[in-house]
């Protein structure tokens, strides 16, 4: 398959760019932050829903557009440019994907339409440690009559503070399972922190939380495999946002060095900066390629999903780190002030790099796959 967008995908991307530039430019990120770190702008989120972006990955059977992840990826990429905050990652990229992969028809039929219509917000609770480590889950679920009793402590749960439900990963009979838990259930305690990217991330404690048995996502399918796919698709989705940030931080920096004068010349004329800029350009070209490949692999249900997910998140983590630093350095003094927006990319970068695993984590996974 050609590594290019189809005409429909291109149109979607352009529409997204236009909408976000008009309704949620970079400056909106500052406004939400200064408005007591508000998680998102409901008006903008309404726009997302009206544009159909929440329905892109939902099967037609449940009323969705079944347009594919390559489409969703374009939206995420554009939000990475404007740093638009929304429940798109927690509710759609992670939670809707989890439910889509579920074989519990009851859950799918009930919740996919609600997620898509924005009536329900969901979060995905996986992490339990201070770094990404999906292989050591200690939360437990025990079947007791017609209910599961869930115990455990999760952290880094994105936007849990706004969510109606949380999908919880826990061990059931020595294997992984996923459960849909109402945040208003007894025994659920949510504490929310604001991290460097001005985003809301919660620690959620589940203390003998009772969940109806029908709320288990994985029935015949293996929970381990479902979780693996959710993480892989999630990592690719985050890579899309990172690709957007990479491009935006770079182009804003190029604009700046074309205008900024020092020593009587534009600083963009110095070969020292030019060579660094050219190298960043190369890294962006590489980033674009791995992201589009990874997106296509999701939609093709290709067996190499795991490899390209690791590759994309590893590369984008590295490139975003590099470019978010270079962007500030090339801006000079003004770059470290809060007066300009370029620093927002740095702060978002260090959080999103870590979500669902950093470069080291993903490279190590590839090395293990290749047996070295």
């Amino acid at each position: 398959m050609a590594l290019i967008l189809t005409e429909e995908q291109n149109m979607l991307k352009e529409a997204a760019a236009e909408f976000l530039e008009a309704n949620s430019p970079l400056e909106s990120f500052r406004k939400l932050r200064d408005n007591n770190y508000k998680s998102f702008d409901p008006e903008v989120w309404k726009g997302f829903i009206e544009m159909g972006w929440t329905a892109l990955t939902i099967p037609e059977k449940y009323g969705g557009l079944e347009f594919g992840y390559t489409g969703l990826g374009q939206i995420l990429e554009e939000t990475g440019k404007t740093l638009t905050k929304s429940p798109l990652i927690s509710s759609i990229l992670l939670s809707a994907t989890a439910i889509r992969l579920s074989d519990n028809e009851f859950i799918k039929a009930k919740w996919l339409p609600k997620l898509m219509n924005g009536n329900t917000l969901m979060s995905f609770a996986l992490d339990e440690r201070s770094y990404f480590d999906p292989n050591t889950i200690e939360s437990t679920a025990i079947l007791s009559d017609d209910n599961f009793i869930i115990n455990g402590a999760k952290n880094m749960v994105i936007d849990a503070c706004n969510s109606d439900l949380i999908i919880v990963v826990a061990n059931l009979n020595n294997s992984t399972s996923l459960f849909l838990v109402d945040t208003k259930s007894e025994g659920v305690e949510i504490k929310t922190d604001i991290l460097m990217d001005a985003g809301s991330y919660s620690s959620v404690i589940f203390k003998n939380v009772t969940v109806p048995a029908k709320n288990q996502l994985n029935l015949k399918v293996k929970g381990e495999e479902m979780l693996k796919s959710i993480i892989e698709i999630g990592a690719i989705g985050l890579s899309c946002e990172m690709l957007g940030s990479v491009q935006a931080a770079f182009s804003q920096t190029m604009e700046y060095i074309k205008e900024r004068q020092q020593f009587g010349t534009k600083i963009g004329s110095y070969q020292g900066l030019q060579h660094r800029a050219a190298k960043l350009f190369c890294e962006i070209e590489l980033s674009k390629s791995v992201v589009i490949k990874a997106l296509q692999v999701i939609d093709q249900k290709n067996e190499n999903l795991s490899y390209y997910a690791h590759l994309a998140k590893a590369k984008l983590g590295e490139v975003l780190k590099l470019i978010s630093n270079e962007a500030i350095q090339m801006h000079g003094g003004i770059g470290v002030t809060d007066d300009v927006n370029i620093g927002f990319y740095l702060k978002r970068a260090r959080v999103i790099q870590r979500l669902l695993g950093d470069t080291n984590y993903h490279l190590s996974c590839i090395a293990k796959q290749k047996g070295f």
Binding site: L3, L286, K288, K293, I366
Partner: protein, 397 residues
């Protein structure tokens, strides 16, 4: 003229495969291992085997030496689609190129675009027939990266040009019959405006050649000297003083080739070699710093391959990005240099051997040394970065 349909192409593929299977000798389907496996033609042409001769002559007769040129120039009149199929089928069978030639890859495109009809009819069929071994004369000792700063003079002497100066990095000049050169025909104007593109017979009195030894050992490169060499005016290609246009056209071709675009040889994974050569401990390389190096290298190598594919795919949709050839050249050669560094590091003592012994042909160290030229030849990495900064990023001067 009828358009080719998919059915026709299917037939063409079947016929092509059948023809190749029938006509390509088995020995000509082995990978090229040494220079004697390549037939370069030329005035002193010698086939190194009977099969080589048969294969060349069959292909010449079939007009498939340069299948995509027009018939009147000795080509096979194939459409791009047909030519593509032929290339694919040859690759599948492993057929060698019947003729290796800078005439086909470099001079040909220039002649087709810039020469007079008379010149085309004179030179192109000779190239196809392998009668003339062409070499290239661009760089000069004092004009490396600054190619346009070249100083080899061609003075107007009424009925001929008088050539004085020298060229360097003239590949196989010691074996070639003719050379295509950039020469300075006007010294009173901006440097890019006084350059012309000239063909010179190496047998002309006053031409001499010195082979260049590299840090890796022997090389096909030469330095070529021109001492009062007389060249007929009819050997000028294109307009006088506008040779720089031709040079730019050819350089962009060359960069893509050096950057590895379109290269088909499969490289072994560095990680496979590392697993084989170095210690493992519980399923991982014991040298955890090497594991890091290999991980990052393979990430970039793998994604660079995707990027070549992506940009070729974009090209097909008509998106043009001329200076991207600089990206390919820069990144591709830097990657190759890193690969050779890793190989020499992983390879252990065997990879350091310089003088062959009975167990080891000392190829690794030579290849390593040779790779250091990759980021210099065909425009240094620095020049490529300049081009990216100026042409793609529009950074100011």
């Amino acid at each position: 003229m009828e358009t080719t349909t998919k059915v026709d192409l299917g037939n063409f593929r079947t016929e092509t495969r059948a023809w190749l299977e029938k006509n390509c000798p088995i020995s000509m389907r082995q990978p090229v291992k040494s220079t004697s496996d390549m037939y370069w033609g030329g005035r002193n042409a010698k086939f190194s085997s009977e099969d080589q001769k048969i294969w060349f002559e069959k292909m010449l007769e079939k007009k498939w030496i340069v299948p995509y040129w027009e018939g009147k120039y000795g080509g096979g009149d194939l459409t791009p689609e047909e030519n593509n199929i032929l290339t694919q089928e040859m690759a599948k069978l492993g057929c060698r190129k019947p003729l290796f030639s800078f005439g086909i890859a470099m001079l040909g495109p220039a002649l087709l675009k810039f020469a007079t009809e008379e010149q085309k009819l004179r030179y192109l069929p000779e190239i196809v027939k392998g009668k003339i071994w062409w070499c290239q004369g661009y760089s000069e000792p004092n004009a490396g990266s600054d190619l346009a700063g070249l100083q080899m003079k061609a003075q107007d002497r009424e009925d001929h040009y008088l050539i004085n100066g020298s060229k360097v990095w003239t590949t196989y000049a010691d074996k070639a019959d003719w050379i295509f050169c950039l020469v300075r025909t006007n010294t009173d104007v901006a440097k890019h405006s006084g350059i012309s593109f000239l063909l010179i017979d190496m047998a002309t009195p006053g031409v001499s050649v010195r082979p260049i030894k590299l840090i890796s050992g022997k090389s096909p490169f030469c330095e070529t000297f021109f001492d009062n060499v007389k060249v007929p005016k009819s050997n000028l290609i294109g307009t006088l003083n506008e040779g720089w246009t031709i040079a730019k056209y050819l350089l962009s071709h060359e960069r893509q080739m050096i950057g590895g675009v379109g290269q088909t040889d499969i490289k072994r994974d560095i990680s496979e070699i590392a697993k084989e050569k170095t210690k493992m401990i519980s399923g991982q390389l014991e040298d955890s710093l090497l594991r890091t190096q290999v991980s990052k290298f393979e990430m970039d190598e793998s994604i660079f391959e995707l990027t070549i594919q992506r940009i070729l795919d974009e090209d097909k949709t008509g998106k043009k990005a001329a200076a991207l050839s600089s990206f390919f050249k820069y990144y591709g050669t830097e990657l190759n240099v890193k690969r050779e560094e890793l190989l020499i590091q992983i390879g252990g003592d065997e990879s350091l051997l310089w003088v062959p012994n009975d167990r080891n042909d000392a190829d690794a160290a030579r290849k390593f040394c040779r790779s250091k030229g990759n980021t210099i030849e065909g425009g240094t990495s620095e020049i490529q970065l300049n081009i990216i900064a100026k042409r793609l990023l529009n950074l100011p001067n």
